[in-house]
Amino acid sequence: MHSREQHRGFRFDWITIVLFLLLVGFGWLNIMSASHEGDIVSYFDMSQLYGKHAVFIGLTFVLITLILSVEAKFYERFSSVIYIVAMLALVGLFIFGKDVNGARSWYGIGSMTIQPSEFAKFATALALAKYMSDLQTDMNTIKDQLRAVGIIILPALLILLQNDAGSTIVYASFFFVFYREGLQQVYLAIAISAIVLAVLALKFGILITAVIAAIVICSLYFFRRKKRASILQSVVILLVCVSFSAGVRMFYDHVLKPHQQNRISLWLRLEKDPAKLERMKKEEAYNLIQSEQAISSGGLTGKGFMQGTRTTGKFVPEQETDYIFSTVGEEWGFLGSSIVVILFMALIIRVLFLAESQKSQFSRVYGYGVAAILFTHFTINIGMVMGLIPTVGIPLPFFSYGGSGLWGFTILLFIFVKLDSNKINEW
């Protein structure tokens, strides 16, 4: 028994585990720098955020041990149960939840808070993997496609209703999973077109967007002689494009809240009124400007651990959670920040590589889900901190302060590590 356990241990993918440990460890150092008040007395000072986070990290290892010691098949078999429990937890928020910053996404248990949406991600990934790997599911039929989408839409909708738009966007990452599992190429084209059309409609208005769409569709019609759509189809596509643009425009003008409008307006540089721009710089853009300045001031090698003047002065709000990367930028400079980017890339690519090597479809779909979720968080968070995409408040996996987030990502990742270790037993 003993030797078998040991033998099993070696089948875990140590590259993934080492990358995970590096990210969590480095993240903790940055949380310490970003959150400490006064001198560091003890690393486990529970009155300070870094002390609490150290405890979260400690508990993570308990969690990992539990996850890895459970039989791999458990996750496949109980995925529906896990999913249902997670959804109930989300629904329960409407009754027992606690408002934090306008979002009703927390359970308060004593002084602790738990954010179920962080746990809903792996639950959704498991459920989706289970559904898609089911022998009775045929992803080429619209009916089953819609069912799969339904699995994703349910938690996304619940989270959106709790006023946590940022976390909702993460569920779009499952698009990559569908695509990998054989979604028709046309969906990719539609997805890309939709993004391009939305940006064009907001930046240049509906008229110019319509003209551009018409030109593209015409040229497609003339140059793709063999597989071209008929004139009627082309006109319909154009009409869809134009109404989509108009829809985006209306969505922006009437559905989005003012702060969301401003974030997009800042990103696309839509605001022309200098007075309003000046005001926005003090409000919506304040975080962004501060974090860009902090990162920029780091230079090539950074100011050194615990030496960042902007970090010490807490110039960037939420610098220990969503904006933790600004601390990395200031104190570790270009070299340190690039290493963090590379570590994330390495982790995601490693998970992708392992996913591709899975024999069971369940493990592969789940692995793809893990990679896609990590990727979405990484892209949106760092892109936001550096001003490349509009502000969306989601954490940087393994880095940002917070127990729920850390545990959510740990469970997500280590279920896959467990599934992967079991692949030789698959047939």
Partner: protein, 650 residues
């Protein structure tokens, strides 16, 4: 494609992030400096500026605290503008203007909003300062002049300008820097070094503690005290004598080159250039282009020196072996070249030897001597060069190298100067005889003349005149303690000195003798012209006098220059004699002479060219008599520009 879409996207996003990081942190980044870091507040601690004492240890310049209201525009919150303006005694328009100016300079950096509050305003404001976010009070130190004299020497402090800040980053906006006088020339010594504290701010601009336990902070280094060579009593007396006149007095101790007095008239009270009124007062003084109180006539007034220059020609003649003291020259009321009269002369007995030539200031004697010098060599150009080198060895014709920030070169023409004017070798000694009597192309400043007589009194050497006597914990520059030799041998000086002595004994200054002091002097009268409505018009002559005393081992050498004072012994001679007596004896026995100077004014004379009417000059004028000018009491600060109440309105 299906298998690699996500992989590709991950790689593209990663590369995009790394290039964005490169752009932000390496490409766009400016060199990091603690001074530029907006997360760090810099607080300056201004050191005490060095005190200034006179040669006898009398305190002339001390410091007084002053309070500047500073602004950091970005941190300004909405405030009760009306109350704030009332406290600062400014109007709302001023407030808006000042706010804009500060914001244009920098929204983040502090700049002075209202500089130099009075103690009373400060006391009232300090109570209420917490109500006005974005403003704070910076304590600085201002000059406190313990005297009303010597404005031209002591100079003043003013706010440093942008150009200086760019060149010398030590200074920040609102810092004070020496603008004139010793404040400017000894700025580095007097100012010390300001201390700096780096303080970590948070995003609400609150201080959260010293940056890195203050390891980069520095303590202020106090400025050094200095002692200057001016004798405050003598300076004060000189300024009293100069009241209602324009001109300069320079007194030097020949044994070491120390400037004992440097008087310029008209002058002003140095306290006028302290505090909030500085700019207004300075413009008022500076823009007075008629009496020019900010123009130091002792250092900057460059004129033909007139007769005092004759003694230089006598010395050069002796050195070049073209005359002996005994050679006699006949004077027929002028110097004749053939039948042409090149220069006139006044009535005196003839013929004259050197002694009488100097004592009677005979023009013919010196033109003869001068022509012999120039014509000794094979062409006039070479002769002029030899002559000019001798004259320049007395410190004439170039900057003397003293330690005050203003001056003029004067002019000693040489051969090439005339080659340029007349064409190569197309001139001879007869063209330029005016130089023989200190007219023509020769020009000098009063300090150069004082230095020249100091060299004669020393029989052949001088020390570069200087104003610095001692620097706390330091030595004065060695160039002020180095003896400078003239090109004239020592033995040639005695007959010339004797001649200058006889100026007082039986010559042009016989009426100015001071009992008990052997003074050697030389009178001078210089013609001068100005343009009125582009017509060259002659004005009353300048009165010039140079002297040293006692005759052997002189203690004081002096040059006095009074604009439009007519002949040399009339104003300048009297003032020089009084100054010498004051310095050597400490009190005045020739009270008749003092009374005359203090009851006669030249203000009417100065008003003439601006009257728009034709006027008379020299012998045809009558001198203006006024009530005796009283010496100002020490504690009685006269904040007005020193002028005569009778001064005509222009």
């Amino acid at each position: 494609m299906r298998k690699i879409l996500l992989l590709l996207t991950v790689i593209i996003v990663g590369l995009l992030f790394i290039s964005r990081l490169f752009y932000l942190q390496v490409y766009k980044k400016e060199a990091y400096s603690l001074y530029e870091d907006t997360a760090i507040r810099k607080e300056f601690d201004y050191p005490k500026r060095g005190y200034v004492y006179d040669r006898n240890g009398k305190l002339l310049v001390a410091n007084q605290p002053s309070y500047d209201v500073m602004i950091i525009p970005r941190e300004v919150e909405s405030l009760d503008t009306l109350e704030f303006c009332k406290l600062l005694k400014i109007t709302k328009e001023d407030f808006i203007k000042k706010y804009r100016r500060a914001k244009n300079y920098s929204p983040r950096l502090p700049s002075p909003f209202v500089p130099q509050l009075s103690k009373k305003d400060y006391a009232v404001l300090q109570e209420k300062m917490r109500k006005f976010d974005g403003f704070y009070i910076q304590k600085r130190s201002l000059r406190d002049y313990q005297t009303s004299i010597g404005a031209n020497v002591l100079g003043d402090l003013g706010e440093v300008n942008q150009r200086t800040i760019k060149k010398q980053p030590y200074y920040g906006l609102g810092d004070l820097i020496g603008k004139q006088g010793i404040e400017l020339s000894y700025e580095d010594v007097l100012r010390g070094k300001k201390g700096i504290k780096f303080i970590q701010k948070d995003r609400f601009n609150k201080n959260i503690g010293p940056y890195k336990e203050g390891q980069f902070d520095t303590l202020p280094q106090p400025g050094k005290d200095i002692k200057i060579t001016i004798d405050a009593e003598l300076q004060k007396y000189g300024e009293l004598l100069m009241t209602n006149k324009r001109g300069g007095i320079v007194a030097i101790d020949p044994s070491n080159g120390e400037i004992l007095a440097l008087v310029t008239g008209p002058s002003y009270n140095p306290n006028l250039l302290v505090g909030r009124e500085r700019n207004k007062n300075f413009s008022r003084l500076y823009l007075d282009t008629i009496s020019r109180p900010t123009w130091d006539r002792g250092l900057q007034a460059q004129y033909p020196p007139g007769s005092p220059f004759k003694v230089i020609n006598a010395l050069i003649g002796l050195q070049e072996n073209v005359i002996t003291p005994e050679d006699k020259v006949t004077c027929r009321m002028g110097y004749y070249y053939g039948s042409r009269k090149l220069t006139g002369c006044h009535h005196h007995k003839s013929p004259v030897d050197m002694n009488a030539g100097i004592a009677q200031s005979c023009n013919a004697y010196f033109v003869t001597t001068y022509r012999k010098i120039v014509d000794k060599y094979k062409d006039a150009g070479e002769g002029m060069n030899i002559w000019a080198d001798h004259a320049k060895s007395f410190g004439l014709g170039d900057y003397l190298g003293y330690d005050l920030p203003v001056g003029q070169k004067g002019r000693i023409p040489n051969g090439s100067y005339y080659d340029k004017a007349y064409g190569d070798n197309r001139w001879g000694s007869t063209y330029i005889v005016s130089n023989a009597i200190g007219q023509g192309e020769v020009e000098a400043t009063p300090i150069q003349l004082a230095n020249m007589v100091a060299a004669i009194g020393n029989r052949g050497y001088y020390y570069t005149p200087h104003i610095i006597k001692e620097i706390e914990g330091d030595t004065i520059p060695s160039k002020f303690t180095t003896k400078r030799q003239t090109t004239i041998d020592k033995r040639h000086f005695e007959p010339v000195v004797q001649g200058m002595f006889d100026v007082y004994n039986k010559g042009t200054a016989a009426s100015l003798r001071i009992p008990g002091i052997d003074i050697c002097g030389k009178t001078g009268t210089a013609e001068n012209f100005i343009k009125i409505d582009s017509v060259k018009t002659q004005l009353t002559d300048h009165s010039i006098f140079v002297a040293f005393a006692p005759k052997d081992n002189p203690k004081i050498a002096i040059a006095v220059f009074v604009e439009n004072g007519y002949w040399g012994s009339r104003f300048a001679g009297r003032m020089a004699s009084l100054m010498i007596e004051k310095y050597i004896n400490g009190e005045i026995t020739r009270t008749d002479m003092e009374h005359w100077i203090l009851t006669h004014s030249l203000e009417n004379e100065y008003a003439k060219p601006y009257s728009g009417e034709p006027f008379k000059i020299n012998g045809e004028t009558t001198l203006q008599v006024i009530d005796k000018v009283l010496a100002p009491k020490n504690d009685d600060f006269d904040y007005s520009i020193q002028t005569n109440p009778n001064k005509p309105k222009l």
